[in-house]
Symmetry: C2
Subunit: 389 residues, 2 copies
């Protein structure tokens, strides 16, 4: 396997794109990534594209890679379309990485997209059930907010996580999003604002659940043999791992075992320790997730996630800034795009191009995203680590 770098990144604003077509969103994100990379269309040998539930939303939902890239005049190459729930875009990234790392192709593009802002909540929630076991979990009424509300309840019971600590996650991410012009919903929030908002699934309130959005994100990857032909600042892919959840009937609903395993494998592959990570983008679809994942990713000890957040360690000026982009909670969550938007943010952070939300001395970045909720262990988990090429 060869070393691979990200040499270009691009994404649309996340929000309501009105009548813009799915293929136009793809083309916009890809064009920015291609321009950033300085590659020609003909240089691209392979593409991977992801969308999650578009086909249930009366917009283009299949073959999105071929149809989106054609908008830019890119055709004739192999294009794989992938899906993996909320981790769909991370899956696209990993397929493009594999095609490059394997030695088959020198340059590949990965893109993720979702258009969902036009959908009503009911049909949208029904669509989301496909990421779990429709006949088992879906038929028994599990929803995403419900699942993570159970995680929150369990963590509150077991480790005395407080509602104020959870609210702080949302407050921090909105504070970051106010420095990100691409974010959908940057707000100035107080603890009271968060805790007094409508309850979505006890205890999670409106501001603790991420908003949907339309959007697309893309990156261009290059093998070590050609990366330097295009850029002086390649961002190396030090590790990219995927681990599916394991099934046990006595699963602790507060546990995120598969994130722990995916992270351990990624740290080992990259040859680094959790302390080496300078900035991370994680899956913060619900506030409780940050408190759980900072533990599972090794940034603090088990049971200390709540106080870690409370102490400001995950803020922009903390020891390990989490979601400088604003994350899913404040940037918005177009499901099939978010995993690549995380990678765009890490690329910009490591290149020192993140503007007002720039993390100081950001040399190593990490992304984490789960897809699906098979048997409540969050389906598959992707962890990737980026650093000096």
């Amino acid at each position: 396997m060869r070393d691979v770098s990200v040499i270009g990144a691009g994404m649309t604003d996340f929000g309501d794109h009105g009548d813009t077509l799915v293929k136009e969103l793809i083309a916009d994100a890809c064009l920015e990534a291609i321009t950033d990379a300085g590659v020609d269309r003909d240089d691209i040998g392979f593409a991977a594209a992801g969308t999650f539930v578009n086909s249930l939303f009366d917009v283009q939902g299949k073959s999105v890679g071929q149809i989106g890239l054609k908008e830019l005049g890119i055709d004739g190459i192999p294009v794989v379309n992938v899906e993996n729930g909320g981790a769909t875009a991370a899956q696209a990234f990993q397929e493009a990485w594999r095609a490059t790392a394997s030695g088959e192709y020198d340059i590949a593009i990965a893109v993720g997209v979702e258009k969902m802002q036009h959908m009503e909540t009911g049909p949208m929630m029904d669509a989301m059930k496909h990421a779990g076991d429709l006949e088992l979990e879906g038929a028994n009424g599990i929803t995403w907010p419900g699942l993570f509300a159970m995680m929150a309840q369990r963590r509150m019971h077991e480790y005395d996580v407080t509602r104020e600590q959870m609210a702080q996650v949302a407050i921090n991410h909105h504070e970051n999003a106010r420095k990100n012009p691409r974010a959908k919903r940057p707000l100035e929030l107080s603890v009271d604002d968060v805790l007094e908002a409508s309850v979505i699934a006890e205890p999670l309130t409106f501001y603790e659940c991420c908003p949907i959005a339309d959007g697309a994100a893309a990156v261009v990857l290059a093998s070590e043999s050609v990366a330097s032909d295009y850029t002086d600042s390649p961002v190396g892919v030090l590790a990219t791992t995927q681990i599916s959840g394991t099934y046990t009937a006595d699963r602790d609903l507060g546990d995120a075992e598969s994130t722990r395993r995916a992270a351990e494998l990624a740290y080992e592959t990259a040859g680094i320790e959790p302390d080496d990570v300078d900035v991370a983008e994680i899956h913060d679809a619900f506030s409780i997730e940050e408190i759980v994942y900072v533990e599972e990713l090794g940034f603090c000890e088990r049971g200390e996630g709540g106080s870690f957040v409370e102490d400001g360690q995950t803020r922009l000026d903390g020891t390990i800034p989490i979601c400088p982009s604003g994350g899913l909670l404040a940037k918005g969550h177009p499901t099939g795009a978010s995993g690549l938007a995380q990678i765009c943010e890490i690329v910009w952070q490591l290149r020192g191009e993140a503007g007002e939300r720039q993390v100081d001395d950001a040399d190593i970045g990490l992304t984490q995203v789960p897809g699906g909720f098979v048997n409540t262990d969050h389906g598959s988990i992707f962890v990737s680590i980026f650093g000096e090429a």
Copy 2:
């Protein structure tokens, strides 16, 4: 890239599986492939799964790999879910191949599935439009039968392909299917039966259009380093290529340029000539396709596909038997499974295990399948070649 072999194959019957769940179809096909390969569940390092439009059919349509494999107790490993129209299963095969050939994993499983028999024609045809450009081709009324009817009209005009030649394709495939206990609809047909049946899209009649079906198919792949630990009869993957169509405004609707390019690349990679191929499974969703593809795959000259079929060259005892399994026309076409069912048939043919439909001296086999109909050049084309490992 390492050499890779198929060491196990399995598929469900294709037909109406009633209340059987998608995950149960996946488990049935995978269990047969795993048992055939003689691998333990824990030996499998990577999985790729494909489904096309299940999510629009009120059955499990996302994360099908994780959810299906869990039925067999296979969890904790990376699972990629893919989609590429009618070539979805070929895409799953290629991802599993890449993960093995790259050196990352020694053993991988690929599975494809579709459950569609319960659907009404209208919603099903609407769902299929997602494989094309929904807002361009779909909005302008292109359907699959319509597209291939135009291909037939063009070929009849340009090369004097006759209706009797096209009917013979259906007759041949049904004759093969009568020797395949897994086929959905094996019939004894005459030319009159085919030509006097209801017209679906002029000139294609009912028997010239493949029936839908429920079903799943799977194969187990192994790198050269471990294949001999499991089997004395590995089937080598000599080449597996994917090429997306190219867009030109003056496209000849009778042309299948991308099949030609994908085949040329596959022959070059495998180091063989078209004449070396002993048996092939192609995408025969519509009768005209065989007449076009035998030309584009190099089995006969341009314009001679009709007489090639008429002369019996594609029958079981011909120079290049096409679709000994009965093909999509007579075996049935569960969209997300067919690409792997083709590979299962080639594996059984090369191992001499195809029973009454065994092709004599079958040493090299080929599969071809298109996915999507972007700009009428049939989206992406997959061609794979199998032979001695």
